[in-house]
């Protein structure tokens, strides 16, 4: 066991020496791997933000019920009370037209417009949340509400969030495909790097085999080399992503201020960042494995 560990330590040290000997070539290989992986990792980070946003909204879909302007206040309040007692309704809030106008005036961008209005054009409204928020239940409730005499318009607020979620699904599939394609590219980069290393060390491999080195002993440093190169690429990808998100957040901060909100893209969670690095290492190792399997067969002494 101790000898086995020592051989792994030797192989690791040998891989580090090879990386150092490669110099700028190793740096550029890691950079190529990093750029290739930064794209899907960035896509994943943006999608995670989008997903969190849509989930936050879609978790509590609301139905806004706008009443006809001629509906008497008592009838409007009565409908609000009735809906609040409905077993399907979790929460109901009656919103008088005066409050709606006050809210409008309180909004920076619309204050001027609200002030210019002669009379309040807004109707009374009731905002409800259901216990069950599946699209079918929401639609059934909206249909029922549209059939009531005092109701002018019913708006199911989760529609756009659902569309956004569907769009995110498409983007997720695209990111998955991009990841697969670029991972293939990374495997090719590592495959070629290791191939060149094998050719450079052809004599050493041949002699080692002749004097009793096992295949595992010969292969091990190359596997470590692929793994290290992949991990280096993963680190570059995470650094690039971090820098890009920081720059993007500066621009987004200005934009979101104009909407009176605060929005920031989040960097990957530690577990996700670890996954990116581990994935990079794994495909680096895979490239090395494929290259070693193919080219070591050509340097056979038996």
């Amino acid at each position: 066991m101790r000898a086995w560990l020592r051989q792994h330590r030797q192989a690791f040290a040998s891989a580090l020496r090879k990386l150092r000997a490669q110099g700028s070539a190793a740096v550029f290989s890691s950079l190529a791997i990093g750029v290739a992986l930064a794209l899907p990792a960035g896509g994943y980070a943006l999608l995670a933000d989008l997903q969190a946003l849509t989930q936050r909204i879609a978790q509590a879909p609301q139905i806004s019920v706008f009443l006809r302007r001629e509906t008497p206040r008592s009838e409007a309040e009565g409908l609000g009370t009735r809906l609040a007692r409905d077993s399907r309704v979790r929460h109901s809030k009656f919103l008088p037209r005066e409050d709606a106008l006050a809210r409008l005036r309180g909004t920076d961008s619309l204050a001027e417009v609200a002030a210019s209005l002669g009379e309040n054009p807004l109707p009374d409204a009731i905002v409800i949340q259901l216990n069950e928020s599946t699209p079918a239940v929401l639609e059934a409730m909206a249909r029922e509400l549209r059939g009531l005499a005092p109701v002018a318009q019913v708006q199911v607020d989760s529609d756009w969030a659902r569309r956004l979620a569907a769009l995110a699904g498409v983007a997720r599939t695209g990111t998955g495909l991009l990841t697969a394609l670029l991972a293939l590219g990374v495997v090719a980069v590592t495959f070629n790097t290791i191939r060149l290393q094998i050719l450079t060390q052809r004599t050493e491999i041949e002699v080692s085999r002749l004097i009793g080195a096992t295949d595992a002993f010969i292969r091990r440093p190359f596997y470590y080399l692929g793994l290290l190169q992949g991990l280096g690429g993963g680190a570059v990808a995470l650094a690039l992503l971090f820098a890009c998100l920081a720059m993007l957040n500066n621009a987004v901060a200005d934009l979101s201020k104009t909407y009176g909100t605060v929005f920031q893209f989040q960097f990957l969670a530690p577990a996700d960042a670890f996954t990116v690095a581990a994935f990079a290492g794994l495909i680096g190792w895979l490239g090395a494995y494929m290259s070693v399997s193919k080219y070591l067969r050509e340097i056979d002494v038996f």
Partner: protein
């Protein structure tokens, strides 16, 4: 003990290198394998070193039929043999010391023991003072001595050398043979292939002559 029985070797392309060779080499023997180029000397050594497999017949090394061994077992057989190649197969991108350390890197010795063995092997062949040199800086005789140091560093019971004195002057050749003799004196079985008549005439041990893939005399 090395035992070959009715060994034939045909290379791809149809060239017969060995035709029914039977030979036994006892433990501790010093045997020279003689014959002109193409007689089958190198092929016979390669069969014993598991670098080639016989087309037919058996090669038995210390009770093991080499032809029956799985490929994955061959490195362990080679570790118990000391091989000296005609072209030495030294690594010129590393020092004399690192060349000798190579077989120890995949052995089970502790780093301290490996260093001790490497230095002892270099001392034995008279190259300890040049351990930091690059093999390219060594003379032909010194390079051959380095190849011997690498072959014996794992203290094998059998030492096999293919034309170890080729391209060496008479003094260096005698020097190299002296080193092999010194290992043989401590019980190592030595098998050397050569066509150097000067060596053959001085040799007092067993001589096996090969001609056209057969044992001509022994």
């Amino acid at each position: 003990m090395i035992s070959l029985s009715e060994v034939c070797k045909r290379y791809p392309g149809g060239k017969d290198a060995l035709l029914g060779v039977s030979l036994t080499i006892e433990d501790g023997a010093f045997t020279l394998l003689a014959g002109p180029s193409g007689a089958g000397k190198s092929t016979l050594l390669k069969l014993i070193a598991t670098i080639e497999r016989p087309t037919s017949g058996t090669v038995v090394l210390n009770g093991q039929n080499l032809a029956a061994l799985r490929r994955s077992a061959l490195p362990y057989v080679r570790r118990n043999l000391g091989l000296v190649f005609q072209d030495q197969k030294l690594l010129y991108d590393r020092s004399v010391y690192d060349n000798v350390m190579l077989p120890l890197s995949f052995s089970d010795h502790s780093p301290k023991e490996a260093v001790r063995r490497a230095r002892a092997a270099l001392d034995k062949v008279g190259l300890l003072a040049r351990e930091r040199a690059n093999p390219i800086q060594l003379s032909g005789g010194e390079q051959q001595r380095l190849a011997i140091a690498r072959a014996v560093v794992n203290r094998p019971a059998i030492l096999i050398a293919d034309e170890p004195t080729a391209n060496l002057d008479a003094a260096s050749a005698a020097d190299i043979l002296g080193i092999f003799a010194s290992f043989n004196q401590v019980g190592v079985t030595v098998l050397i292939a050569t066509h150097d008549e000067a060596i053959l005439s001085r040799h007092a041990g067993r001589l096996v002559r090969l001609a056209q893939g057969r044992v001509a005399a022994q």
